[in-house]
Symmetry: C3
Subunit: 651 residues, 3 copies
């Protein structure tokens, strides 16, 4: 199914009906509205204006469209800020208040904002909760975007002290857990605790981790209450939230998604690619500047699906150039169609485009829409027409379930650990995880992202690229899974309170693979060194651990000095270094074979994904490409010879 993001308040009411008719005509069935409309819904304190929204919804419903309603809490109006200035968040890098004039100018710890946000949510839920045209709700918008999870406000300090009291009860327990003795950082009572910001030099990493957990809890608490309010007034309607990339929320995304019916994702492959690959040279970047890296969108799709273990929505899909990256190229012709198909292949139930018509004013006027500001049809329009025709060829698409046999384990908590303690400037947990994911995808393997609290039974291969904090229950789940297990650098190295594990890394995982990390070094990115599997040479880079490997283990790879770089014990593998991509591809090919997971030889820039009985092929290159498909493949779309930027589907 397809959807659209629409802002009736941006356009003359006289245009609404034709817009709605054209949406329906294009094949769109869902319309998301009202996410930034607080100043129109409550122009002055307590003075509500619902008439225009009532009419907008009616107009859409009359055209056969279903409405996804939003709480407008991402943009509190000026009068609210002036009434309660402490709503504004405080920048943790400077200690300055972050002012009104854009969006997300609120502090999750502000009691005033919590009350007011829930008030407007309640008012809207009461009015539209049972509206027949409103089939679901989106909470807020892109929670945590623009680095708004953390605040250095007085409100945050007060709440953090209370959080610490609740979590540690006793100040001596906190001092001991954090190792505050180290630099006489000991507190005598909870009221002495500071936020771990703006100190002379780096603060205690355990203090920082507690602050990140607290900040995440504040977001989740805010969001939980909002979902509770919607559910109380909107029976039978779904509730979702449109996530930004998981790495940017600074929140426990599993916890955030917990009360939702399903998760949604805002997918901007080109903008995100520009930022993610900013340090990479043109040789790597340029081939994908108008397509996105072949594994980049699906990386986020598989993560989003993993949040609830269910299919998901693309709530916002890039339809052309955007405005917010450092450079904003146009998608290659066909990419909007291709990206949409990739979404469906990885488990989307709805792809909703952002936005209907490009806005002629304000911050995003250079962000493309399906229609241009002169109301002409933009480049994405015929691609969506084509997509709708093609979707009709796969009538059972949405009934198909994605079901991977390879799982990747990842949590925000461990991202925090790696961010707080880089140890080497070139170590980036996200890049390591993406490299592992991409190596698997190049081998034609489908991947689930799972939480360490999730049952692992049924997976043949479980990979944990970088997870310093490992709990006993997770070790148990690994053991019980029967899967072949692969642990990457840093995994198992830290306690839950950001201390080194007493038995040396990988700590509790030594029950599975009894190696010991004797020391860790980090290396300048331009000083990589050889890494070997047998005689074949690859590169070790950035992060290298010195391993003690007992006789019972088999050494899978070694460093330039002959010392072990990866080792296997029975069904568990430990990889002790960050490496080049080719190393991962070679290593994983072997391990997938061990795990009896089928791999597929794919042409460069072609990717394969399976949703139930359907297999999808995607060509990210302008050049046609020939794929070796099964002889009995029943082609629903295309063929084994993929066009440039082509899509093919077979059963």
């Amino acid at each position: 199914m397809l959807g659209i993001c629409y802002y009736p308040e941006h356009w003359p009411e006289s245009m609404w009906a034709q817009d709605a008719a054209e949406m329906y005509g294009l094949g769109i069935r869902y319309v998301r509205i009202a996410e930034f409309a607080w100043s129109r819904l409550e122009p002055s304190p307590g003075q509500y204006r619902f008439d225009w929204l009532d009419r907008a919804i009616s107009t859409l419903a009359d055209a056969g469209l279903k409405v996804v309603m939003c709480t407008p809490t991402a943009t509190p109006p000026k009068w609210l800020i002036d009434l309660y200035p402490s709503i504004l968040p405080v920048d943790i890098k400077t200690g300055h208040s972050r002012g009104f004039g854009s969006r997300r100018h609120y502090d999750f710890s502000s009691p005033d904002y919590f009350r007011e946000a829930m008030r407007i949510s309640t008012v809207l839920a009461e009015r539209y909760g049972e509206h027949p045209a409103v089939v679901g709700w989106q909470t807020d918008n892109e929670l945590a975007c623009h680095d708004t999870t953390h605040s250095g406000s007085e409100a945050a300090l007060t709440a953090f002290r209370a959080w610490c009291q609740q979590h540690y009860s006793d100040i001596d327990a906190l001092n001991s857990a954090w190792g505050n003795v180290f630099w006489s950082m000991e507190y005598r009572h909870f009221g002495e605790i500071e936020l771990p910001i703006l100190a002379v030099t780096e603060t205690n990493p355990a203090h920082q981790l507690a602050y990140r957990r607290f900040s995440s809890d504040q977001v989740v608490h805010f969001h939980d209450e909002m979902v509770r309010i919607i559910r109380a007034h909107a029976p039978g309607r779904f509730v979702t939230h449109n996530f930004i990339p998981m790495v940017d929320t600074q929140t426990d995304n599993y916890a955030l998604a917990k009360p939702l019916d399903f998760a949604s994702f805002d997918n901007y492959p080109l903008g995100r690619s520009d930022l993610f690959f900013a340090k990479r040279g043109a040789a790597m970047f340029k081939p994908y500047m108008r397509t996105g890296h072949p594994d980049f969108s699906s990386y986020y799709f598989d993560q989003t699906r993993g949040l609830t273990g269910k299919h998901f929505w693309i709530m916002e899909q890039q339809p052309g150039p955007v405005n917010w990256a450092k450079h904003n190229p146009r998608p290659e012709p066909g990419m909007v169609r291709l990206w949409s198909w990739v979404s469906f292949a990885h488990g989307a139930d709805v792809v909703s485009y952002f936005r209907w018509r490009q806005a002629p004013f304000a911050q995003e006027q250079m962000h493309a829409g399906l229609k241009r500001i002169d109301n002409s049809k933009a480049a994405a329009w015929p691609e969506i027409e084509q997509l709708v025709r093609e979707m009709a060829l796969c009538p059972d698409l949405l009934e198909q379930q994605v079901k991977a046999t390879v799982a990747m384990v990842s949590t925000t908590e461990n991202q925090w650990v790696c961010e707080i303690e880089r140890q080497g400037d070139s170590f980036n947990q996200q890049e390591v995880e993406f490299a592992w994911y991409s190596a698997l995808r190049q081998l034609g393997v489908d991947v689930d992202f799972v939480s360490p609290e999730q049952d692992l039974t049924g997976y043949k291969l479980v990979l944990v690229p970088c997870m310093p904090v490992v709990r006993p229950e997770f070790v148990k789940r690994c053991q019980d899974s029967g899967a072949l297990l692969v642990f990457g650098p840093r995994t198992g190295s830290k306690t839950t309170e950001f201390q080194l594990v007493p038995q040396l890394a990988p700590g509790l995982l030594q029950a599975l693979v009894p190696v010991k990390v004797l020391s860790v070094e980090t290396i300048r990115p331009d000083c990589a060194e050889p890494l070997f599997i047998g005689q074949k040479q690859y590169q070790s880079q950035c992060w290298r651990e010195e391993l003690e490997v007992p006789q019972s283990c088999q050494v899978l790879a070694h460093y330039h000095d002959g010392l072990p770089a990866a080792a296997q014990h029975q069904r568990a593998v430990y990889v002790a270094t960050v490496s080049c991509d080719d190393f991962l591809k070679a290593l994983f090919a072997d391990l997938l074979k061990q795990a009896c997971v089928e791999t597929v030889v794919l042409p460069h820039d072609v990717r394969l994904a399976r949703r139930g009985g359907l297999t999808f092929l995607f060509n990210y290159s302008a050049k046609p490409s020939k794929v070796a498909a099964p002889a009995n493949a029943q082609w629903l779309l295309g063929s084994a010879t993929l066009d440039g930027y082509g899509v093919a589907i077979y059963r």
Copy 2:
């Protein structure tokens, strides 16, 4: 004529008479004084000390020198700041007060400073306005230098709210003009308006543009009043201001120059080159590191002349290494003479050197003067002696008028639009404009910079490199001009209120060249792509617009994918991309021919300029160069064979 910047207060009074005699002996006729002398003129509140200045002026006058007096308002003394601390400006990037201890520590919106600055200006104008030795006045010094146009102070906020009220009258009109509905940014009354700074993420570009216009108006208002005061007390004296590069004032430079008799420019080719070309590699930079780029000084000269449409002064001319760029090379031997001649060729009436003698103390002690601190003659001295001898060979020099047939249209307003909305980090309006200018200059063409509010009649070719905001009157002027017109990327794309034009870019200009910009993309600087004129290949880079070109237009260039990159309709051309320099040179060569503007084949690093009947040749290279001059050329200086760093003049 030649001038000098002199600070009698820096030297023992016993040195003044000999300094004055030597100035006169060297050929200097104008002396600028008193620009930073407030603490000596009013050491304590209301206690004036004019005796020393009276004596200094007398000494200079006795030696035959004419005095240019300054208002000392760029450096308010400490006691004034302590009396009125709110004089200090506030940094818009941090919200911090910018303190005393250097210069320009005042807020254009401070009512206290406005009053005090006009008081000291009045006092000086009353005392020296009719002094026979004082022939003219310089207002303040380098207004806006050190990013002082914008302030985030309470005073600025108060004044901005009043400015908004005056300009929009009605708050709904403002909300609508800015599109404040976009993120619930709507205001209920003018007192709710904030400065567009220090927000969570980017603020509304229309809000930013209004703030820039307001800030510019504050500078102009301050300056207008100062000029008014001087004129009231100094009948018959000229009033000028020494501009920094136009791009750095953040002020409407045409408006600022309006009350002046003529504009002046402070010319530091090496310091400015070091900053402007900082990102360029040594291959491009090194040949010019001691000469400045051959088009770099004249670019500013032509702009300065354009401010009032009259000849101008160089109020400060670099005489050797300066102290304030990131790297400060020494000029090649002969460059001080060459730069001086370039100034005259482009319309200077006076070239005044900064400064007489290098200061041994304070911030600029590493800034060269004509004399060293041991009172010996520095490297520039003999070059100026030579210049004086050479000027005698062109007795009618100052009677000659610069008269170009090619015009370039540019405004600060459009610089603001491009700065506020980069869209691509590598898009720099100034670099685009400079590239267009340089291409013309390499073809031996003289260029006028003109305001879009100026009559264009008489020009054969009018170029508008990048002017998003186009008003109907300008389109009319273009039509009436009869000139061949060339519009660059972004031109015509925005309304006056920073909205996209409803008919798509180039908006109103479609009356001249009926193309449509369907989409815009920006590209990493290392990902340039081919661009073609016919079969000849160039480079498209950074900024690319997708053009719809009707049959009535001729396509002049196309992209790598065959789509049009430049198109002509009758007498108007639209160029849709930023390009390499060679593309511009090739395109402009064709268009100049169409426009019947004569081009000249010049050796690399040689430039030609015309002032009335005089033609000047300049060689920016160390190697001699042979120019094809007319057979009947009457050589006033040099010959068709230019020495290294040589100058030649013929009639």
Copy 3:
């Protein structure tokens, strides 16, 4: 002798006895304790807890170990900050208070902190001053680390005004000395003076220099009083301080070291190398990434020895990877032993490792120790065992005195001048000085660092790489020394009040080498130019002075344009440019011969050092190397054929 840094408060008391026994068993004799233990010694205001420290000292003493006690003033506890919030320093770049949560969160100008720091020092000195196991004291810890010398606080402002009053007496004298007339920066009384921070643009360099002198005096004053207190209560015990690299203290290190018995240094070759060579390419950096540059540690050792003219301690020696550099590689096998031997060769009496056992918690948990957190022995352990065995082969090692015939003159004051006035972004005084030092060391020459206030008699060659401020007494000392003298760029160019010397640079040194610096230019690092000694070509870079050289001088080198770049007059040489390393090596080889200082032809990466009758050879490469040693060499360790990372000693 060997020592160790130990934190009994970090470990269960039950581990102490075994730790002590193992220390002694390894060959360690000194244990430094208590440097960060304030919160354990005084958990609440006035409530002291000495029992645990008493027991820790007893345990160590019982094992035969000697204790070095510290004042814990680098880490004031939270309750003290809450009692006196103005203890916190203020960041001079932002004006923000620098908060609690790490270390060194105190302002040297805070009267409250001064009183409290001296109180706790007195309490500790009274209790442990005559303790038989406590043989010496370390003051505070790494004074000035984390940029804490400068503060922008109210307390600093008040103290600075008083300091100015004391140093200049008369405000007119100050205005004149600083050249405040320049931009109307004149003060009417000392109460008007500001700190030279947070101004609109750069502040007066003389003002900045005064502020740096003041800040240094504050540190010295703080430290002097602490030493006085310890001496008053600890008769017969030594007092030392553990210096960070001299360049980072922003303090007059000679003054700081003056009251000490000897100076100590904290030696982290890899961490420091990573930062110092961050801008250098992998070709230069990678060979040394696990060894440190061959001259890098000794550069600091020779400086540390120079502070008091006596032998020194390494108070903290890196034993493995650290945590605080941008990248943190592991030392090559053998480097801990090699670095230790280098310390002894350059005059260390004790090398003390940081730290006994890696801490599992808090900020430095990734910093290696001699033992891992599982109490196993880390990589350095066997190397120290080897070192202890080898030291037994040199029983008279500590009786040997380092005695160089080449001296290098350097002061913090001149570092300040060069930092305040870069003139070119690529000019770095420290890099120039290191390049000169390294060239000498590559020639096998031992170097003393000396203060310009020190007698130079006995030195054959005295080098002054970059010392703008030269006083008459220093010129006298140079003349009296009889040494061959070499002065580098900028030397002699400034007065003590940061004005240009009236006679042009090198000012007073013209009595020795009568050249004149006519102008100075700075050049982009990628725009270096040829530099010649005779026909042999080298590179001039970054900083070039134009020299007037009288006939009486011999030109030693010239620029690409033939102008002189270095000149000699009798026994004094002036070098006018920064150059490539090869130029220095060639020039110094000639000058050393003139000075009758023996040079040694050393293989690349091999260094030689002499301590009294002992000669040490160090191989910084993995490859064995053969050195030409005297035929009658009596080898105490190794031989003329050095192993990879090998050490050899002969008498």
